[in-house]
Symmetry: C2
Subunit: 674 residues, 2 copies
């Protein structure tokens, strides 16, 4: 031990030497290690808990032991007596350094009995929220120094918390006197400071110690809206809720909603109102589930595609309906929740992530933030499939983005038996290459169609259509079974072998299920899927050209579609380029996670703003090669590209076009080489 | 002539050497000389006009000539052809330096046919408003660079005007697309930036060149509200209007309004609404008179005493009704006009000057700014008389302030025949010392009461009471005529000599007028005036003690009362300390002028904020000597102080108390020595 022991903070890994007797909280702050504290070191909020890791850390040259911290002090005794202080935990505002230490700053300090829900992803987000809770004791009024109540509050916030130039939300003024007196001159101030270059701002004030603050993160999808409620102090997610986007009644897909705005004078307003009402409903639900009130919510982060983004903010999206697809605003937007009719705390702020381009929105930006292609050396492809596919491809050196007009086929629109993912929809399909007989699975029914109990269950649920994931699978399985040629034509000659191949005059279709509803896959359905996947693939290919690569190292499939499709089938169809299938992952609601990251750590706001500025935007409509790529990509899996990784998992049919068999299907049926 | 001629800008006196060919606007800006420009040097707004002063300026070593500027350029030719460019005026964005120059930056550049009203004071206020108008040409949307409309606007504001980190009022977003397209990508942005330390903010946006912007300055008095409309670009006052404060229906004086709030649950709200409605009415009037729309008003400055200040802002003033007289806020307050229901431009800002203490408000701060005791070496006394007198005493070295509880006597309340200054009120009084006969003047009647035509006019108007100025005069005249003793007792023995002296049993009164209404001055009236003036004088004396002075160099009497009272009579009564009467001045609505200064030049906001922080506040209630001063000051003009300057204008009666004549008046009547 020296007079200046070495202290290492984990998980940040920051370290420094400090004189014996230095307060741990101060040591952490001097190194820029984020440790929460609401009470400013008075030992009453319990937010600044840390743990000592004991042992020899040879790599760091530290032998750390619990008694290298000062013994339990009176502040800790009092806190532990009043509240739950877990064994081994210390209050960093009380404990002082007595020797070398490895100190763990836990990311899950819960001081209240919070309802904590299982996270959709286990991601721990380092905290540094835009809103801080600061407890202060304010001088009482004094006739000799007639500073106003607010001015004395500001003086306390400057002295205890270092906020020297502090702006104040005007709405707080009328209630200020009461709050200060109700707290007997002890209050907790909520201070909003988003970036370093901006002045801190008092946005809420509570009497006494207010040891909690919450925020919401929300992804506004065209189809569904998902919201999470998180504690800004512990980082924990308390509640999540989702609902379908009520704008659907104005139009299923994005372009029909833009048309609605163009055709109806009050269309924009009606859709803005609809989405905000849905958000209000979700806020009610997460507040009820989390056991908090709306007034406890001090910050909110939103993402969405450009049209959702504009409608949410009350901006006319008409310009996004045609070239040059001009966004009203592409940069991040900050505002007060009250400015858009979201009744959270009166001082609550809203942060909306930047949009990348006219068809690549804040949702794609958020997904990029979550998956971080810009943070890694590997070349990563990130795809979010909707009516438009938003595509980001890049690594730390360079990131490019584009959108491709896939149309709504992947969502089941334009498909004869297509439907939304809901009970009764076929979601998985396998076809026996020998018999051409299918087996499938239906949402809401546990057994596969060839397993015991299926018929009984199906009688109850009903089999009503095919959802997006099954559309991909059935087309891929038809191709693997040799029913489809490379250019996607159903081989009519197979009708002789299987009653599943039905003739419709000049074309054929495949009978997937005969029941109350006959479910078939028509030649037109296959054409629709080919068009959609060719558009997606052409966009991806264009970005690969820009990056000068012929393969990608990782693929992330975002959104609901990405969650449910099997990467293998996506590759069989040629939706995505060749890649090690182990490295193709559904990344879930990456956009929602990105929103939550920005909620809990304002540093991520700057990261994504900088990243979006640096992303190169490719407008597919302006790229002559897009059309070539599109035509080539109509073939299954693709006319020009090789899929070496696919050979490890499936047996692709030999390359064979419909001309080999004649337009209505030939007689020969070849299997691929082994 | 050298390669780097010397250029002197007037009236600022700033000077520098510049290469031949330097643009005059750039030269001015590089020296920090404020020259307005909306179009950013495109020669279309005409705001940057300057004049060359010709001649030899030996003191500065400059020989200035008009041809030391470049000849009329194409921008000036075009501007002069389209608009009125006065002879000798040049556009500083076009003219370049060719030799030594003395350049005058006029403060009255009017480019539109403005209705210009005669200013109440001729004061020219150097301009540097918080809101700037910035014309820019924005890049059109481009699919290759999918920056949003707002982002391209920001880029233009950064490139042309240097606003790099620009915040944006959210309310502008929904209308942004239309404005940009309506202006064919040429727009004028209104940028608000109050202080250097704060980020600039886009608050309004207009299609094309918007070559005007307006602001209002307003003094909210307990009795009357006065508003001025000024051009932020030319500095000219276009319109002024005043109205009585409708809060009067809740209580005549300040304390009765505080009581109303304390007694009525909705009292605060009702009074806030009342004053804001009155302000809205005034806004309508100044807009109509100035020929502009409310949406053209982008900035507003308000002052008022602490209770008016609180009620205007929607803050409960109850705390101001009792010790420790705690202000909710003492510092300057900034907010959006929309936050307090003032429908100006949706982005319009409001600035409220700081209050000095619980009874010394933003009006006193504004008057201090106008009269500037803190800017001069002489010791200046500034007094604003209302229910409380707000008193500021100081010079550049030190300034102190206090309020004194004068009560409403000076306003005519508590006076038996007292009334507001309105037609029918006696406003001037003279009493003949020999005959004790009065002559007086009545508001609304031109002749004095002893002049031809008075009786006829009085029959029409009616004589109904005495207003504040006449109360001072009649008491002073009674004292000078020997009717009152030094301690303010009416000499009853004079009843024998004059029928004007009436007996009321133990006390006497003076009959000023016998008509439809009998107007008398009672012993109680005189006591009320004595109490009021003693309170005022004791406050002044206390501040003189603090400053360690026994006289003051200048006195400014602010407000309506200050405008109408005769300084001589104020000194005879001992309202104000001895001073050269030529240096006692009514300073009119100094508070309103201070508000206008802050509207037109944000530098004055910092000046008054700094000054208020440095002013030492004296709470009279806590000062033991206040009571002594008060008792001494009950005498006429004062028991302990000498008034040498008064001897030059009036003949004071010999010192004589009522004990010399007996409580009910003695027989002897002495005149002063000549």
């Amino acid at each position: 031990m020296t007079d200046h022991p070495l202290v290492l903070f984990m998980p940040s890994g920051r370290r420094g030497r400090f004189p014996v007797g230095t307060n741990v909280l101060e040591a952490a702050r001097s190194l820029g290690v984020y440790v929460e504290s609401v009470c400013g070191g008075r030992g009453i909020c319990g937010r600044c808990q840390v743990e000592v890791q004991e042992g020899q850390f040879a790599k760091h040259g530290i032998t750390s032991a619990k008694d290298h911290l000062s013994p339990f002090g009176p502040k800790e005794e009092r806190y532990a007596a009043l509240r739950d202080l877990k064994d081994g935990r210390r209050l960093s505002c009380s404990a002082t350094i007595a020797g070398d230490l490895v100190i763990d700053v836990p990311q899950d300090v819960a001081v209240n009995a919070q309802v904590v829900r299982k996270e959709s992803d286990g991601r721990v987000i380092a905290r540094d929220p835009a809103v801080h809770m600061c407890y202060v004791e304010v001088e009482e009024p004094d006739m000799h120094k007639p500073l106003g109540d607010l001015d004395r509050l500001k003086a306390a916030l400057s002295a205890d918390w270092g906020y020297e130039a502090l702006d104040v939300d005007f709405h707080l003024l009328p209630g200020l006197q009461k709050t200060l007196r109700a707290g007997e001159w002890k209050v907790t101030a909520a201070i909003h400071k988003d970036s370093e270059g901006e002045r801190a701002r008092l946005i809420a004030l509570y009497p006494g110690l207010k040891n909690e603050a919450y925020g919401i993160a929300c992804d506004i999808g065209s189809t569904t809206i998902a919201m999470h409620l998180s504690s800004l102090l512990s980082g924990r997610t308390l509640a999540s809720a989702g609902t379908s986007n009520p704008q659907i009644r104005f139009g299923e897909d994005l372009m029909s909603r833009v048309s609605y705005v163009m055709m109806n004078p009050d269309g924009r307003e009606a859709m803005t109102l609809a989405v905000r009402e849905a958000l209000n409903g979700l806020i009610d639900r997460v507040c009820a589930e989390g056991g908090i009130s709306r007034a406890d919510i001090l910050d909110a982060v939103f993402v969405g595609n450009p049209i959702m983004h504009h409608l949410f903010l009350g901006i006319d999206p008409t310009e996004l309906g045609g070239a040059p697809f001009a966004l009203a605003v592409s940069g991040a937007v900050t505002l007060k929740a009250s400015e858009i009719g979201l009744p959270l705390n009166a001082g609550s702020r809203v942060y909306v992530l930047p949009c990348i381009a006219g068809h690549v929105g804040a949702d794609a930006a958020a997904a990029t933030l979550t998956e971080g292609p810009h943070r890694q050396d590997e070349m990563m492809l990130l795809v979010d499939i909707g009516t438009n596919a938003e595509i980001v491809l890049g690594n730390a050196a360079r990131t490019v983005a584009a959108s491709s007009p896939t149309g709504p086929a992947f969502e089941g629109a334009e498909i004869s038996s297509g439907q939304r993912a809901a009970p009764g929809a076929i979601e998985r399909v396998r076809i026996d290459p020998a018999t051409l007989e299918p087996r499938f699975r239906v949402i809401g029914i546990e057994p596969w169609s060839d397993e015991p109990g299926f018929a009984e269950a199906a009688a109850g649920v009903g089999i009503t259509g095919i959802c997006g994931s099954a559309i991909i699978e059935v087309v891929a399985e038809l191709f693997l079974a040799g029913v489809l040629s490379e250019d996607g034509v159903i081989d009519g000659t197979l009708a002789a072998r299987s009653p599943r191949i039905l003739s419709n005059g000049r074309t054929f279709s495949y009978l997937l299920h005969e029941g109350a509803q006959r479910i078939t896959v028509t030649q037109n359905d296959i054409r629709a899927i080919q068009l959609a996947k060719a558009a997606l693939y052409a966009g991806v290919k264009l970005l690969m050209d820009k990056q000068g690569v012929d393969h990608v190292d990782r693929i992330g499939l975002a959104g609901a579609f990405g969650t449910f499709i099997d990467p293998k089938y996506a590759m069989v169809l040629g939706l995505i380029p060749d890649c090690d299938l182990d490295r193709v992952k559904a990344v879930g609601n990456a956009a929602g996670t990105g929103a939550r990251m920005c909620l809990l750590n304002r540093g991520y706001r700057r990261e994504i703003e900088d990243t979006v500025r640096r992303i190169e935007k490719i407008e597919t409509a302006l790229e002559p090669k897009f059309q070539d790529h599109f035509v080539a990509a109509m073939a299954l899996p693709n006319k020009v590209d090789a899929f070496p990784h696919l050979a490890h998992v499936v047996t692709l049919p030999e390359r064979r076009t419909s001309s080999d068999t004649g337009e209505t299907g030939g007689r020969r049926r070849r299997r691929s080489r082994d």
